[in-house]
């Protein structure tokens, strides 16, 4: 059980550092003002991609996902707790199917993400409609889901790099 602190401490820091950098990059992508018309409106759900993919490959602590959601909530103008709710629920759902998804081809995992993204978008849309007591246009949400689905394979590259780096790490939960 004793981790090999002395010999690979720096390596461990480096590996978790990579995870943090990717996370930070996703944060910036989630808030950066794109100067392309309507791209902000249909912004892909980058953080959901990370939560989904990493949940399949390794159990991420739900508390960490919750905190990331709250951070997103602080940065955005959404009701406080909404992103946290969406991310934790998505992780929960993905986690429950983890054993099935682990043995599947990438296409199945990709389809799974499309479903999760659609589910998350729909829940958000329902909540906003409820809070505003008015029908919020659903089109931007649907476009965002489609865009996220198409971008998912691209983002999987840095995400799996982080996974591989962490998988070699003896101190991490594999």
């Amino acid at each position: 059980m004793t981790p090999v602190w002395n010999e690979s401490f720096l390596r461990i820091v480096g590996r978790w550092g990579l995870a943090l950098i990717v996370l930070f990059f996703l944060f910036v992508l989630s808030a950066f003002p794109f100067r392309i018309a309507h791209l902000g409106e249909v912004r892909p759900v980058f953080m959901l991609m990370a939560v989904y993919y990493w949940t399949i490959l390794r159990p991420v602590p739900p508390l960490a996902v919750f905190m990331v959601g709250l951070a997103l909530d602080l940065l955005s103008d959404y009701t406080f707790g909404m992103n946290a709710l969406i991310l934790v629920a998505a992780q929960w759902l993905t986690g429950s199917q983890r054993k099935f998804l682990l043995g599947q081809s990438f296409l199945v995992i990709w389809a799974g993400f499309a479903l999760i993204a659609l589910g998350a978008g729909t829940v958000q849309w329902l909540l906003f409609t409820l809070f505003n007591l008015a029908l919020v246009p659903a089109k931007p949400m649907l476009i965002s889901v489609v865009l996220s689905t198409f971008l998912f394979p691209l983002l999987v590259l840095p995400l799996s790099a982080v996974h591989k780096a962490l998988a070699d790490d003896p101190s991490s939960v594999a």
Binding site: V28, S30, A31, F32, P33, F34, R35, I36, A37, H38, L39, G40, E41, V42, R43, P59, P61, P62, L63, V65, F66, G69, L70, A71, L74, L75, S76, D77, Y78, T79, F80, G81, M82, A84, L85, V88, A89, Q91, W92, G95, G121, Q124, W125, L127, F128, F131, N132, A134, V136, P137, P140, M141, S144, V173
Partner: protein
């Protein structure tokens, strides 16, 4: 659920870290729902938390977005060079047209000045501006808002109007020491008292989370025509009067729709208008009658 129950003995043998790994989703979902309910009930604590977070992340976002901005600037300059000739022709034509407008504006200004003197009109308070770069598109799919790296230290106040080159784009809703949050006019929660420039008809301009905004509370038969400019009325004292917002683009059976003058979907630099405002309207505190008599 049953698989979790069967693993219980294993869980107890595992370190605390693993136990929290499996047990918390339900608790966290409940916690998130509670937080949402609390926020709906009282927005002030979240607002304070957000302002603090905004002040903290503001400089980081500014630094991080610098290379992205440089890239976009470069991209824009490339497309600009390509379109230079066409742009030149357009500008020459526009210049001729504007020269005529300039002449008539000078004439009207002189005329206006003399009327004001005749009527002894009290001048509107002078407007001051702070220009800022948009550092974060804080809204996303369901909320239309942006973050600016200016705050209390730049004399930005809650309720200030925010303009881009062409017209009003939003209103400051939260202010931190060095950052502020702007609710855009297209947001579902945005309601702005306006008048139509030609008829002086009053209405409320409501955001719909779409590209266009809708004119509400219009008097019947107000004779709306496509192309009419919509400007702020200054009613309520929150926004200064006569700031242009948009033009009417359709007057169908589904209501009167207004297109914003600014390109709200890709704002880069905006100006916060620091107008003198009636503070009682902002705070809701009315001076007691006894003090008024003094």
């Amino acid at each position: 659920m049953s698989s979790q129950n069967s693993q219980k003995p294993v869980l107890q043998a595992l370190p605390l870290k693993t136990v929290t790994l499996r047990l918390t989703p339900a608790v966290l979902v409940l916690l998130a729902v509670t937080l949402m309910a609390l926020h709906r009930a009282d927005t002030l604590p979240v607002e304070r938390l957000r302002t603090a977070a905004m002040d903290m992340t503001g400089p980081v976002l500014t630094a991080v977005s610098a290379p992205f901005n440089a890239f976009f600037d470069q991209l824009e300059s490339v497309t600009t060079i390509r379109d230079l000739k066409a742009e030149n022709i357009r500008l020459t034509e526009e210049n001729v047209r504007l020269q005529k407008w300039y002449e008539s504006a000078l004439k009207l200004q002189a005329e206006n000045q003399s009327f004001r003197e005749l009527l002894n009109v009290k001048a509107d308070p002078a407007l001051t501006f702070v220009t800022a770069r948009v550092i974060s598109d804080a809204g996303g799919t369901f909320v239309k808002s942006v973050l600016l790296p200016v705050g209390i230290q730049d004399k930005v106040q809650k309720g200030n109007a925010v303009m881009s080159g062409h017209g009003l784009v939003g209103r400051v809703t939260e202010v931190g020491q060095s950052s502020s949050r702007v609710l855009l006019v297209t947001d579902l929660n945005s309601r702005i008292p306006v008048i139509l420039q030609n008829t002086r008809t009053k209405a409320i301009l409501a955001g719909k989370n779409q590209e266009l905004m809708k004119l509400e509370r219009l008097p019947p038969d107000s004779g709306m025509t496509v192309g009419t400019r919509v400007i702020t009325s200054g009613d309520g004292g929150q926004l200064p009067p006569d700031l242009p917002i948009g033009t009417i683009v359709s007057t169908g059976a589904d209501g009167v729709w207004v297109k914003p003058l600014s390109d709200i979907d890709r704002l880069t630099r905006v100006q916060v208008v620091n107008a003198e405002m009636d503070q009682t309207l902002l705070t809701g505190e009315i001076t007691p009658p006894s003090e008024n008599k003094k």
